[in-house]
């Protein structure tokens, strides 16, 4: 029977020849992940199970990234729980401040997740690794606790939806714009419980950072996972990084899909998601009237090297508007170093921006850029819910790094071509 890439990965991890959508299966997990918000709850639950230690000390990754460097005493207590648990169980993949990064930037970069893997993480954006051709999905802390003990979890096999992207991208249109446009089209529950499979010539030509960005936001359409078939671009990315063997899976040409969407990308402009839902999208040309107080470039969606390069390219030799604060947050220490080598940090600082150590920070309204009532921020992050970046009366607009850089220069939402 023909299967999709998602079904094949699930079948192999369930020890079955085939699986069908709707089936409840028990699967082997290649890596289980937690952070400084979700792992404390998982650790407490884990201790109630009655096992001496974790199932595999190389396959439990703990990444404090949300409120670190610790923003207050309570956050410090939570981060300390991770550190102590990691020591007690001799976890190989615990990442202290100074060696850490935002989890979904860090794990692919460090080769801890790879094509064909099945990864669960107590963080909804765990679906990012679909960009590598892995099945990965977010779960809660209790699911993480069970997986830490057993190395297994239960899943319902999702139906798959196929998204085909064709045509030539307009200048300044990125993976972020494609995924925002798609969510705008299908809605925040348009792929509820389903797999989003991104295909077509545009995806085949998209770089790895763009692929990770697209899969990262699959959860914003309610999806269980986002996935892109691995290819040469994937091979080049994982070679020399992968810490484990990896497998390239592909969908059969006659696999069954619950729906198929096709987009002509030559019609798509850079996109802006207006408050307070990621699906509330408009083309940038219809958004330029919104003045801004803050611009954030970073997060597990757009805090990677290519993102910083694009933004710095637009900011080089320019000053940002007096009206705005610009906060740039690299996804990992490795990206930080590379940005330094390439002179990007100097560009951001000369433009009048702040450059931070890696952290989720303002993305979830944690710290490092919280908004006051009435303030408006354009961010390269993934959620613009009420109060997401601070006061419930503040507003978040989502966009690509190019739009963010241009908007910082003009102090209002701007098309990159206005400053380029």
């Amino acid at each position: 029977m023909p299967m999709t890439i998602t079904e094949k990965i699930l079948a192999d991890h369930a020890g079955k020849d085939m699986v069908k959508p709707g089936e409840l299966i028990n699967v082997r997990v290649d890596l289980a992940l937690g952070n400084d918000i979700t792992a404390p709850v998982a650790i407490r639950e884990f201790e109630r199970i009655g096992v001496a230690t974790v199932w595999d000390r190389d396959r439990v990754a703990l990444v404090p990234d949300h409120f670190v460097p610790n923003k207050d005493i309570k956050s410090a207590e939570q981060a300390k729980m991770l550190k102590e648990f990691a020591r007690k169980h001799q976890l190989t993949n615990y990442f202290e401040v100074g060696r850490m990064g935002i989890e979904h930037c860090l794990l692919p970069e460090q080769g801890l997740v790879g094509p064909g893997d099945l990864v669960i993480g107590a963080d909804s954006h765990t679906c990012t690794y679909g960009g590598l051709g892995a099945f990965s999905t977010g779960v809660g802390s209790t699911d993480l606790a069970a997986a830490m003990a057993l190395g297994e979890t239960w899943l319902k096999v999702p139906e798959s939806i196929k998204f085909i992207y064709k045509g030539e991208l307009k200048p300044w249109v990125s993976g972020k714009d494609l995924i925002l446009h798609t969510i705008g089209d299908i809605g925040v529950d348009g792929a509820l419980y389903q797999a989003m499979e991104f295909t077509g010539p545009v995806i085949e030509a998209l770089d790895m950072d763009g692929r990770l960005t697209m899969c990262n936001m699959a959860v914003e359409a309610g999806a269980k996972n986002g996935i892109i078939a691995p290819d040469e671009i994937t091979r080049r990315y994982v070679e020399g990084r992968a810490k484990r063997e990896y497998v390239f899976y592909n969908s059969d040409s006659d696999a069954a899909y619950a729906a198929v969407y096709e987009y002509d990308v030559s019609q798509i402009e850079p996109q802006i998601a207006f408050p307070h839902l990621p699906s509330n999208t408009r083309p940038v040309s219809q958004s330029t009237g919104v003045s801004l107080d803050q611009v954030v470039i970073g997060s597990c969606t757009n805090g990677r090297m290519e993102d910083l390069r694009v933004a710095a390219g637009l900011l080089k030799g320019r000053k940002i508007s007096d009206q705005v604060r610009l906060i740039v947050i690299p996804g990992t220490q490795e990206i930080y170093l590379q940005a330094m080598r390439e002179g990007l940090i100097e560009i951001f600082i000369n433009a009048g921006g702040a450059f931070s150590t890696p952290t989720c920070g303002p993305c979830l309204g944690g710290h490092m850029g919280i908004l006051a009532p009435g303030e408006k921020c354009l961010a390269t992050t993934n959620r613009n819910f009420v109060g997401r970046m601070g006061h419930p009366e503040s507003e978040v607009y989502l966009a690509s790094p190019a739009v963010a850089a241009a908007s910082a220069v003009l102090g209002r939402i701007a098309h990159p071509e206005e400053v380029a």
């Binding site: 949300h66 409120f67 779960v139 057993l150 419930p392």
Partner: protein
Amino acid sequence: MKKLEGKAWKFGADIDTDAIIPARYLNTSDPAELAKHCMEDADPAFPAKVQPGDIIVADKNFGCGSSREHAPIAIKAAGVSCVVAATFARIFYRNAFNIGLLIFESPEAAAGIAEGDRVAVDVESGVITNLTRGEEYRATAVPPFMQQIIAAGGLINYVAERVKK
């Protein structure tokens, strides 16, 4: 078997976990602390007015957004006996079962129940009765595996049993 009864508090579509428990309170996972801010960004008065046994009734995609288990924990600790929604976001759905917060998926109930209605829920059969309007709705059946998790008292008890064997 077990019957729940309480007053309905109505919410709209796409209630996200940031609205259920904002991240500014996530530097703790203490249920009592979280309960103090339950649903705060959807309705700031909710923590003060909710009574033990009350029922949250919402439209589609309840609990979308982050994976924070703090969301169902906050609702449970606030004394809410169950959540009825047209649909649930998937991570919230899992989390609710795993921690033992009762949830019922029923588009008819979500449409038929108004704020303030008295609602009774038969946990076993999934029959939801609107006592104020004299209407009855059915919830989508829960898969047998998930019923086992509920019967065990949550995922951790279920796994602990398995580990002992």
